[in-house]
Amino acid sequence: MSQATDGINLTAYAAGADSDAPPRVDSTTVAEARRQMEICNACRYCEGYCAVFPAMAMRRAFSEGDLTHLANLCHNCKGCFHSCQYAPPHPFGVNIPATFATIRQESYAEYAVPRAMGRLFERNGTVVAGVSALALTLVLVLVVALQDPAVLWSAQTGTGAFFRVIPYPVMVNLASLTFGWAIVAMILSSWRYWRGTAPRSRLPLSGPAVAEATMDVVLLRNLGGGGHGCNDLDDGFSHTRRWLHQAMAGGFMLCFAATCVGTVYHHMLGWYSPHSFWSLPVQLGTWGGVLLCIGSAGLLYIKAVTDPAPVARRLLGGEVAMLALLFLIGATGLLLLVVRHTGAMGFTLALHLGLVLAFFLVLPYSKMMHAPFRALALLRNAMEKRR
């Protein structure tokens, strides 16, 4: 246990344990997470489930940064809850999935850029839904204001059909501005997160650590429950959530690739949309949309029917709203493909792009922050294991 000695100040540990010491100033959830981790660290039955428990076992005391790191390392597989001898109704009331989900949310808010935007996580479901409604309205109003309103219901065909609904410069500028900002804000947040949760001793960054973290992300190994899957619905094990998540994430990436290819076609090759069904951007977008819809709808279904005990109910609004938004983006994209030669194209395109705009706007202030934070937590864990 030599690694456990590293970086622990015994006097501080002693002071923390002393009833005469001043009370801790951490949030209630952090104090609760610390209480639970101290029980887990004496028990350790869950060490085989995921990366969280071996990472916990490397520690004796849990700073706020440690707890934030462990919480973001947690993939919410719920294996530790269903197997917990101390889960409610036991008086110890250990519920790591719900507690860590709350800590994760607090970390998204804590490290938000700009700082004040962290408040958007308080009622995130309302924020995501509200921004979506506003963005939809904005796009429809813009179409009516800038173009002939008739484009919303009359068929448009031939080269540049889409841009007769929404002018190309408006589309590109709005998208670049909002998406560009989202990326900048997410990078800055991630940097603040990385600094804020850094351990006392420096860890070396190595190729193998990066490779391991990358494979963890690609394979979602920590939703594997040690090999046989996670507790999607109850104490039974399955890989459903893992597959659905990767369908959704993969679908999202395909859609993003479709957009990139379309941009290259437009600017570098001079090939303008709409492209034929068998063209690369449409193929990427179609399969991406299908996967995005299957993944997000499946995850919504699991959220609806899963055992609610290990779920942080307060966070459900934001999670459901984001899944619904992703589903609607995928669904309207597919619908657009179906109706693009009809009079419904204009309205469908406005809907689709309105939802995409909303997605870009809320991106750094939503559940989507779990992606960079968890990737960083996996990287830190891979580095810590090699110390």
């Binding site: 028990c43 869950c46 085989g48």
Partner: protein
């Protein structure tokens, strides 16, 4: 639930031994009903708090390293029981334990390679992924899928026995009085450790200070009922498996995480500030099970493990933090002990420590000389502040008083005849094999082995 039905097999209890019996009987085609006293979230008896099963294996398996053969297993058992065992039953259990992990895997239980905090038992013991509650969940899922009727909140209060033949069970089903009719019955309802009144009979007021580590439902009602109706008794009623628990643990159901592994790296004094046993006699996996009883024999059933900052990382962390102090005197004050005497005891101990090379993972050469009792290993001077202490109480796992069974898990009557239709498995009959002492993971071995035999025999007897 149809209470008019005559079931082939009634299984009393809801832990590992009960479910192994139920699943085996059902596999043989019997209709099976399980009566579990606990509500669903607390189901599984003491199995909910377990972690592994000790299993014989001639060669490495997917979950066990090297090999662990009958003679070594038997020697280990002989050593902890001091010979108070039944060799035939014990050897049969040891041999059959080879197939316990495989059977449990068939029932959906997942094993894991052992990592940290496992008392270095990966050679002899197969660890359940997620621990005992995960095992219990898997067994119940399997049982339900096979069509076994599970009754939660159902306490069997009386089994009517006539001349060695069990006729029916009187139960409290969710608070309502009912009767369950059956052809055969398997008693897997555990010991009586959670029944303080019963413990008081042997231990007097000391029983009030015992922490019951496991399920509060182990009231021994069926055990008492059967022993009162001509079933043969086995085991010393004062014997139990008990460990050194944190004195601040809940009085019931605190589970595994309340145990303290600090003893070998500390000195342990009682309330009168006397040391009473060699803290470093042997490696902790071979000694942890005697400390509960040692503490139970101290005044007010309390003791204190005292050590310094050097030792803090040598044992697994505790749920309740140690009590820290800058000096031994201050520590004594915080613990409510005689400060002068504690200073004297620590000084005497420090003076007796001989130089050596400390190795917390093996029997090292750090020992005392001229001290009574000695500390034979891991003796380091207690001198580096902050000093710290863990208050200790006995944590009782299960009692050894049980019903006598034969090697086919059949309950024996006081007149020496086997019962016609009563079988037993688990802690209710563990006293047949464990006269005293304990081996980690052996309770689950007994439960699985006898559960399977009891289920098989009960199903067969029900058919005739």
């Amino acid at each position: 639930m149809d209470f008019t039905k005559v079931w082939d097999v009634l299984v009393v209890g809801g832990g590992n031994a009960a479910l192994c019996a139920a699943i085996t009987a059902r596999r043989m085609g019997a209709s099976v009903v399980v009566a579990e006293h606990a509500p669903k979230p607390m189901r599984g008896g003491n199995s909910r708090h377990t972690r592994n099963v000790r299993a014989l294996h001639p060669a490495p398996t997917n979950v066990l390293t090297e090999s662990y053969l009958e003679e070594e297993y038997w020697d280990d058992l002989l050593r902890v029981t001091g010979g108070r065992t039944d060799e035939a039953l014990a050897r049969m259990t040891i041999r059959a334990s080879q197939h316990a992990p495989g059977f449990l895997e068939e029932c959906g239980v997942v094993f894991q390679p052992s990592l940290s905090g496992t008392l270095s038992l990966s050679r002899t013991n197969a660890f359940f992924l997620g621990g005992g509650k995960a095992l219990v969940n898997a067994l119940y899922r399997t049982a339900e899928a096979m069509g076994i009727e599970i009754l939660y909140d159902t306490e069997v209060q009386h089994i009517a026995v006539e001349e060695g033949f069990a006729k029916e069970a009187i139960v409290s089903w969710r608070g309502f009085p009912e009767r369950i009719r059956f052809r055969t019955v398997v008693a897997s309802s555990g010991g009586f450790q959670a029944n303080r009144e019963w413990l008081r009979r042997y231990w007097g007021d000391a029983a009030d200070n015992f922490q019951i580590r496991g399920t509060p439902f182990a009231q021994g009602r069926v055990l008492k009922d059967l022993l009162g109706q001509g079933v043969q008794e086995v085991g010393d009623p004062t014997q139990f498996h008990a460990v050194a628990n944190d004195a601040r643990a809940p009085m019931e159901d605190g589970g595994l995480a309340m145990r303290l592994d600090c003893v070998p790296f500390s000195i342990v004094v009682n309330e009168e500030v006397d040391r009473f046993y060699d803290e470093g006699e042997d490696v902790w996996p071979k000694r942890y099970a005697i400390w509960g009883r040692l503490i139970a024999q101290q005044p007010n059933q309390r003791a204190f493990a005292i050590t310094d900052s050097q030792a803090l990382m040598d044992y697994l962390p505790s749920v309740f933090p140690p009590i820290f102090a800058g000096t031994i005197r201050e520590l004594a004050g915080k613990l409510g002990l005689d400060s002068d005497k504690l200073e004297r005891v620590v000084t005497e101990y420090n003076d007796a420590v001989r130089p050596g090379t400390f190795n917390g993972k093996a029997l090292d050469d750090c020992r005392t000389e001229g001290l009574t009792p000695p500390k034979s290993h891991w003796a380091r001077r207690i001198e580096k502040p902050p000093f710290h202490a863990h208050p200790l109480r006995p944590g009782i796992t299960f009692t050894f008083l049980g019903v006598k069974v034969n090697d086919r898990a059949r309950v024996m009557m006081a007149d020496g005849k086997p019962s016609a239709n009563m079988f037993a498995s688990g802690e209710i009959m563990a006293g047949n094999i464990l006269g005293q002492g304990y081996l980690a993971g052996f309770g689950m071995a007994i439960g699985t082995v006898f559960g399977r035999i009891a289920g098989e025999e009960a199903a067969r007897a029900a058919r005739n």
